[in-house]
């Protein structure tokens, strides 16, 4: 089947098999490999993207469901070489180790700060509790969110 969606401001069309997730379509059909495939079960948040402005796990959405909709992925955040302030904060705070969780966390943080520009520690914990990170112990991720909130 053919599907058409707006990704990071660009209209994209692709052939896809009906069983493919949005994550697969983004990664393998559209070459947008930024969203990660850590569990493909909706448990880790590594594939977080915004679908019509709502934070979703791309692995739980069918590619076909995104037909005609607007998707923002991690690739859509930076302005060329200029990092989004959330991305900059993650780098500066040392919140990135292996980085596999990072694209999902960055997208989730952007979404959090959109609705709550200066979240408390507990609010950050709750908002990011759907994004697993195995490397950092989260402390530096909380630092990054605070930094981004202040910048």
């Amino acid at each position: 089947m053919k599907i058409a969606l707006t990704v990071n401001g660009e209209c994209r069309e692709t052939e896809a098999w009906g069983g493919e997730s949005l994550l697969y379509v983004l990664r393998e059909r559209l070459g947008l490999l930024g969203s990660k495939n850590a569990c493909e079960q909706g448990e880790c948040g590594s594939c977080s993207v915004l679908l019509d402005g709502v934070l979703v796990c791309a692995c739980l959405v069918l590619g076909a469901q995104a037909d005609g909709h607007v998707v923002t992925t991690v690739e859509g955040l930076a302005d060329g070489d200029r990092l989004h302030r959330v991305q900059e904060a993650y780098v500066q705070a040392g919140a990135v180790q292996c980085g596999f969780c990072t694209p999902g966390l960055v997208v989730a943080t952007v979404d959090l700060l959109e609705s709550n520009p200066s979240p408390s520690d507990d609010e950050i914990r709750e908002a990011l509790s759907g994004n697993l990170c195995r490397c950092t112990g989260y402390a530096k991720i909380f630092d990054a969110v605070h930094r981004a909130a202040m910048s």
């Binding site: 990092l83 292996c98 990011l128 112990g137 989260y138």
Partner: protein, 741 residues
């Protein structure tokens, strides 16, 4: 494909430097192994055994072969070279032949155009199994039928054990094993199976070179040893197999063993097309080795005034179906069983066995995590028995340079155990939080299960201790190559695997420091341009890579000096002080040392427990770590925080569940790792006493936080509940008193 060079930046040894791979990672541009693509690429899939132990009667691939999009279906018959591989013993089949020994063992391979076609074709392979009795109890394993009747002979100076299914039996006899004290405490402790649960699933891309060889781009911890295991199985010379590091999404020991390397290469060579294999989460859980579960019987004897007189410990480790690194894990568990304490007499016995349970191998802390949990519980029992403060008891027995370890090795170099204990004990503990409070700050959290009526607070302390670098005579080395160009810029080649720990930063910091320039580029990590770096494990990579890069930089400068300019290109191999094996009968050092250096960490944990519901919340962690010298403090804190999280996970929630050898929780839904809601703030202090034998005095830092944190959390839970809690992960029924503990 992956292999990208890391570009110049700033930061010398000792500076807090943000990661150079940070910007590409936050932008989603960093190519992980699962992101690789190549023209004409096929997808590989592995058919795995649904039985933990069975004889393979027949494999029929005919239906799978004719399915649309399918290009190859391979079984053990298609393995052209050596049929088995392994890190220490080649006991693991590339593809199962006569029988399968664990749930999830690889049986057949498929390559197809779409991953779904590959998966369906694998389902269409008909395998007839005849189920065999499952050896699932590690205590009974030594009396059951041998799982490896033709077990490779031990050699290696190991004590040969005649019992079936013993991978290694290791005994350390020190002083008078019958020495008595004024008091003694005993306990039996247990640790469940922990998983590395790195986020990036096992993945890689194999590309045939058209001349019979193959390039493998893969997430691994040790490129050269992968090559040395892969090539013989493919029937190729080592030069025909080139391993390139693809972006690694965490490792923690779980990528020391091979995953898709041989399988991908077989499919690629068979189809003459690039083949990519990406495990899904379930396959990742069954497809890699885990941390050894352990049962430990302990007795500690001490004088009235608190001096340890004798430590006796029997350690049983379940290695699962294949040896992997069980032999070294057993030895490490025994070597570090006592912890960083002085004791004149000890009898320690560690046995690793084969069973039909999931295979176990390397995981952060490598044998020391299990014994630290038991030994520290024993120290607390002893403190209670003697009426001595637990911190004072530890200080009284703290190991220092000049002391003798149970293996007879004299501690040399940096060993600031007492300093580390004092530093951790000096971090102020936060005051108890008032009630009522937001439920998110109570055990049970967002579950909103209590208003705090049954909540008790406990404070626990523990000390952990581990070796740095490889031990027992292993000829451990790391190579680095430096090319100094006429314009003053430099290229560094080193095959040290960057698994997220930050070794690329260390390499660049060292090169910039030594060469006095920022114009340094780290070239792709590969087996084709530089010698082996050894593995990113055993907290050795910082030491070894820093040493190799330093040596190569200095040699390059010297050579340029001599030649009076122009381009120079030198490779140097760094080795740490030589170690020798332990005596197979007594476990005593046969030379000067069996271990190169040691690092310890001390940790205080505050936890709250809902004693009615059995729910827990770790409130705060204060820790001090002996780091030798900090090369990149911000990265080091990240290691401490992350390592602590893994230890908290093992204490509270992480356990691979098996039923008769079958894993029943192979998903992030059922295997729980700490989330942002589970992690407390971690306050850390770095204790810097430079290690004289190490480049820049730096010790590896990855493992001590994981070694100590499980023990420290368990101690806090005991303090909160008054229950003995002798098993981790601690289960709610043990906290509320419904389970015998």
């Amino acid at each position: 494909m992956s292999a990208t060079a890391t570009t110049p930046g700033v930061g010398r040894v000792g500076d807090s430097v943000p990661r150079l791979d940070g910007p590409p990672k936050v932008k989603g541009e960093f190519a992980y192994a699962s992101d690789l693509q190549a023209a004409g690429m096929l997808w590989g899939h592995t058919l795995r055994s649904p039985h933990p132990h069975a004889r393979i009667v027949e494999i029929d691939v005919s239906a799978a072969l004719t399915m649309s999009g399918v290009h190859a279906v391979l079984t053990h018959d298609d393995v052209p070279g050596q049929k088995t591989y392994g890190l220490e013993f080649a006991d693991q089949p590339v593809l199962a032949h006569d029988r399968v020994r664990y749930f999830g063992e690889a049986v057949a391979l498929v390559a197809a155009e779409h991953p779904e076609q590959a998966r369906r074709a694998a389902e269409a392979i008909r395998v007839v199994y005849e189920e065999l009795p499952v050896v699932s109890d590690m205590e009974r394993a030594t009396e059951m039928e041998p799982l490896h009747p033709e077990r490779p002979t031990m050699g290696h100076g190991y004590r040969d054990d005649p019992r079936p299914n013993v991978v290694r039996h290791m005994v350390i006899r020190h002083g008078d094993p019958d020495a008595q004290g004024d008091v003694s405490v005993t306990g039996v402790y247990e640790v469940g199976i922990q998983d590395q649960a790195f986020l990036g699933p096992e993945s890689g891309l194999a590309v045939p070179d058209g001349e019979g060889g193959v390039d493998i781009y893969v997430a691994t911890q040790w490129l050269h040893v992968d090559r040395d295991q892969v090539a013989p199985c493919l029937g190729l010379d080592p030069e025909q197999v080139r391993i390139h590091l693809a972006g690694v999404g965490g490792a923690f020991g779980g990528r020391e063993d091979l995953s898709m390397q041989i399988h991908g290469a077989l499919l690629a060579l068979h189809t003459s097309r690039p083949v990519k294999i990406v495990y899904n989460r379930e396959e990742s859980f069954v497809g890699h080795i885990h941390r050894h579960p352990a049962r430990m019987w302990c007795e500690h004897r001490a004088t009235r005034d608190g001096r340890l007189v004798n430590v006796r410990m029997r350690i049983l480790l379940d290695g699962g179906a294949y040896a992997s690194s069980s032999t070294a894990v057993a030895s490490n568990a025994a070597s570090f069983a006592v912890g960083p304490y002085r004791v004149d007499n000890a009898l320690i016995e560690a046995t690793a066995v084969y069973t039909n349970n999931p295979p176990c191998g390397a995981m952060r802390g490598f044998g020391a995590v299990q014994t630290c949990f038991a030994a520290e519980a024993q120290m607390d029992l002893l403190a209670a028995e003697l009426g001595i403060d637990p911190v004072d008891l530890r200080l009284l027995n703290a190991l220092a340079p000049g002391d003798v370890l149970p293996t007879g090795q004299v501690v040399e170099g940096s060993c600031p155990v007492a300093e580390t204990i004092r530093a951790a004990a000096a971090i102020p503990v936060p005051p108890a939080e008032e009630l009522p409070r937001d439920p998110i700050r109570l055990p049970g959290g967002a579950g909103n299960t209590t208003r705090g009526e049954g909540v008790r607070r406990g404070v626990g302390f523990a000390v952990g201790f581990k070796n740095i670098c490889y031990s027992e005579g292993f000829d451990d080395s790391c190579a680095a190559r430096v090319v100094l160009r006429a314009d003053g810029s430099a290229e560094v080649h080193c095959a040290a695997a960057e698994v997220g720990q930050g070794v690329t930063g260390v390499i660049l910091q060292v090169a910039r420091t030594e060469l006095g320039t920022d114009a340094v580029t780290l070239m792709p990590h590969t087996t084709s341009t530089v010698g082996s770096a050894g593995s990113a494990s055993a907290s050795r990579m910082t030491w070894m890579a820093a040493g190799a890069v330093r040596d190569a930089c200095r040699a390059a400068l010297e050579q340029r000096e001599r030649s009076g300019g122009g381009e120079v290109d030198v490779e140097r191999v760094h080795r740490h002080p030589r170690t020798t094996p332990l005596d197979p009968e007594s476990g005593q050092v046969t030379g000067e040392r069996a271990h190169v250096a040691f690092a310890c960490a001390a940790m205080r944990v505050v936890a709250e427990v809902d004693v009615e519901l059995g729910l827990t919340r770790v409130v705060w962690v204060g820790t001090a770590q002996d780091v030798g010298r900090a090369i990149n403090p911000i990265a080091l804190e990240g290691q401490i925080e992350g390592g602590t999280a893994q230890g908290i996970g093992l204490a509270l929630m992480e356990e691979i569940q098996t039923r008769d050898g079958r894993i029943t929780n192979a998903s992030f839904t059922d295997y729980l790792i700490p989330t942002a809601l589970d992690m407390p703030p971690v306050e850390s202090v770095l204790v810097e006493v430079p290690e004289p034998a190490a480049p820049y005095g730096a010790k590896g830092v990855g493992e001590p936080p994981t070694v100590v944190s499980t023990a420290a959390v368990a101690a806090a839970l005991r303090a909160a509940t008054g229950k003995p809690l002798r098993r981790v992960p601690v289960r709610p029924d043990e906290i509320v008193g419904l389970a015998l503990s």
